[in-house]
């Protein structure tokens, strides 16, 4: 190779092409997504199928409008659930759990009951940290908020073997405080029930979730994609 400028131009344009193609164009396509009602309408308020409608005057394709008085989805996480997401991130749950349901017919996500519908880009617009995940050592969690009670989640985090025999999930007992039951006040109302076999000291000790455990469970209970979105009307 004798032409160095050519080398540099080539090296520059190759990476610029993929950056523009993958990052910039998808940002243009998806960066403007907003929460949407299950059905969108055209400019006159008539329901439309899908996301776009044809403007009768100009013939242009335009984005549908949200229906009046109907709740638009998704809604952002707030409070404890928002803080719990941070705990989820810090514990590295992401490396064993995905948060994306694939369409029926691709894998067994639907058959396993991980979601009634495929996840779409709009589901993630409020997340300042998107953790789609690339590994399923454990089940997909997109809809785990719909599957279990808070108590189940606490027991499972304290020791996954309580709820799932032989589980390979690590225990997060350090998110719980194990302390003697107060002699004057008796058991705390916040203590979680732990089956005898797994209890660190039945009758004498109690297991209290720390703030982080409560936040994490609030987050898990908020993981759900059970609302309808307009794009589902076309893709299914």
């Amino acid at each position: 190779m004798r032409s160095l400028p050519l080398l540099f131009l080539g090296v520059f344009f190759t990476i610029a092409s993929s950056w523009v193609g993958i990052v910039l164009v998808s940002n243009i396509q998806l960066g403007g997504l907003e929460p949407a009602t299950p059905e969108l309408t055209d400019a006159e308020g008539n329901p439309i199928a899908g996301v776009f409608f044809e403007d009768p005057e100009t013939g242009e394709m335009r984005l549908g409008l949200n229906q009046d008085g109907v709740e638009a989805w998704p809604v952002p996480l707030v409070g404890a659930a928002q803080r719990g997401k941070r705990v989820y991130e810090q514990m590295g749950c992401l490396y064993c759990h995905s948060q994306q349901v694939r369409r029926q017919g691709f894998g067994s996500d639907y058959e396993r009951g991980w979601g009634e519908r495929q996840s779409v880009a709009r589901d993630y617009i409020h997340q300042e940290r998107v953790m789609l995940g690339t590994m399923r050592t454990g089940p997909d969690l997109s809809n785990v908020g719909l599957r279990y009670s808070e108590l189940w989640q606490h027991q499972h985090l304290f020791n996954p073997k309580i709820t799932s025999r032989d589980s390979l999930m690590p225990r997060y007992a350090f998110l719980y405080e194990v302390r003697p039951i107060s002699e004057t006040r008796g058991p705390s109302p916040n203590a979680i029930e732990i089956p005898e076999d797994y209890h660190p000291g039945p009758g004498e000790l109690e297991v209290i979730p720390t703030q982080r455990a409560r936040d994490l469970v609030a987050y898990l209970m908020n993981l759900r994609q059970d609302y309808d979105l307009p794009e589902m009307r076309r893709e299914q």
């Binding site: 990052v23 810090q90 490396y95 590994m135 999930m169 350090f174």
Partner: protein
């Protein structure tokens, strides 16, 4: 310069008259000594730390209660500490050791202002220490390959700026007219990396883009760290080391041109195959799949070029530690890339995605290919920098056998375990139309493979310890008294 002489010179780092060349190169080597040794030792220390994290994470995958009550050592953090120590610690440091050294030799120039590079290197390693500690202490960013806490970004960016500028300067100081293929790969890599890192940091960590655009940026970045940084460094090193050690020019200049440009063109689009089936636009995935399949071209081209250079010299090659490691790496480059192209096909990806197969694949790439070539590079470089030979051929041989066998078994074990895991996860009972295997059943079936993975990991650890001892031993010896100017060779049986 007339065309033929340029061409033959460009084809071969061995074309000059021997005595002139040796004199020049030993001068180059002397000027690179401090840098080469510094980065090799830093890389070595990270390799050992990363190995420790790897063992802990691997054992935890089957013995969940191992260190089970420590938040610091919880699996989700140790795993990331392992990845980041190996990539930003080991792989980057060893790249900073080997690539600029080869670059300086090909430029036939005494390097200057080495303090710039050294300064960058010290900062880089401080950044990585803080980053890995931050991950374990609970400040990590939940994005694969970018786990370092946000406060580490400026340190690493600054450090790389110094390093990158110095490498460009080094290239400007060159005393030769032609530019050899290894130099294109290195220059391109040093140009691509800062772009990748800056974009990923801005669009994911500091000013997060909306929703899944982050995920797309994430996999554009993470796959390209492999494809546009580690791969060009290792392929460039192989292009230098194979002809150099065997004393024979590279087979075809034109094939190396094609191989380089095809890699530059296709690899950077391939990363999004990590999101097949995910909530991202279908056209991005299709583009990624096409690019992944097109990667067959540069891979086959490089494979032919390297193979034809080695062919007929297997006996000589086998005796050289450098060639053993580098050729092993080059063969695995072909294997891992072809496998990767296959994994980007939707029907294959449906099975392998989300399973240990992916883990197998990444170790195949970063270890069997990249790391093995870098081991070969260090075996060639250190004696020339230090002017003394390896103290123990036995330790080299131990390092070779444990790592080559260990990583091959690991890749196979994880691939088989992962493939079965994928088949079982996907299987649907046609009568009930529900999953054929309970999730816990699938999970339990992976345990034997996880145990075997740990065993192969122990084997690799033994190899790393041998490597560690050999380097430290070599460094602590006195300089050569002239009696051992012969390179260390391995006997055929060793």
């Amino acid at each position: 310069m007339s065309f033929p002489s340029t061409l033959t010179e460009a084809m071969s780092p061995t074309a000059e008259p021997k005595s002139d060349l040796l004199a020049k190169l030993s001068e180059v080597d002397r000027s690179m000594k401090v840098l080469g040794v510094f980065f090799t030792v830093c890389g070595l220390l990270w390799l050992m730390a990363g190995t420790l994290f790897a063992l802990v994470a691997s054992i935890k995958m089957h013995n969940v209660d191992f260190l089970g009550d420590s938040e610091f050592w919880t699996w989700g953090r140790v795993r990331s500490a392992h990845l980041n120590a190996m990539i930003y610690g080991w792989a980057f440091n060893v790249s900073f050791a080997v690539a600029p050294w080869i670059m300086a030799r090909l430029c036939r120039t005494r390097v200057r202002f080495t303090n710039i590079f050294l300064f960058g290197g010290i900062f880089w390693n401080i950044g990585v220490v803080i980053g890995v500690y931050g991950i374990l202490a609970g400040h990590k960013v939940g994005v694969e390959w970018l786990e370092f806490p946000a406060y580490v970004t400026p340190i690493l960016a600054l450090a790389f700026a110094f390093i990158g500028v110095w490498v460009i300067l080094l290239f400007r100081w060159r005393q030769t007219g032609h530019v050899y293929v290894s130099q294109w790969y290195f220059l391109a890599a040093f140009f691509w990396l800062p772009w990748l890192y800056a974009m990923a940091q801005i669009m994911i960590v500091h000013e997060p883009a909306r929703g899944v655009v982050q995920s797309l940026t994430n996999w554009w970045f993470a796959h390209n760290v492999l494809g546009l940084w580690l791969t060009p460094i290792a392929v460039g090193a192989a292009y230098y080391l194979i002809p150099k050690v065997l004393g024979r020019p590279i087979y075809s200049y034109y094939l190396s041109v094609i191989g380089f440009w095809a890699l530059a063109l296709f690899y950077n689009w391939a990363g999004v195959h990590h999101l097949i089936g995910g909530p991202v636009p279908a056209w991005v995935i299709s583009a990624g799949t096409v690019a992944s399949v097109m990667m067959v071209i540069p891979v086959i081209v490089v494979a032919i070029n390297h193979h034809m250079t080695v062919v007929g010299l297997h006996r000589e090659g086998w005796a050289s530690p450098t060639i053993r490691f580098v050729v092993f790496g080059a063969i695995n480059y072909t294997a891992v890339s072809l496998l990767g192209s296959a994994m980007a096909l939707r029907s294959v990806n449906e099975i392998t995605h989300f399973t240990h197969f992916t883990v197998s694949h990444s170790h195949h790439g970063v270890y069997s290919f990249f790391t093995m070539i870098m081991f070969g590079g260090i075996y060639y470089m250190l004696p020339r920098l230090l002017n003394r030979e390896w103290p123990s051929a036995m330790l080299i041989s131990l390092h070779w056998w444990t790592t080559a066998v260990g990583v091959t078994l690991m890749v196979i074990v994880l691939a088989i375990g992962g493939f079965i895991q994928g088949l079982q996860l996907n299987a649907i009972d046609p009568e009930t139309e529900t999953a054929a295997f309970e999730f816990l059943e699938v999970m339990r079936a992976t345990i034997p493979y996880m145990v075997m993975r740990s065993l192969t990991g122990v084997l690799i650890t033994i190899g790393h310890v041998a490597f560690f001892i050999n380097i430290i031993w070599m460094l602590s010896r006195r300089a050569a008294d002239g009696s051992e100017s012969k390179p260390t060779l391995l006997t055929p049986g060793a």
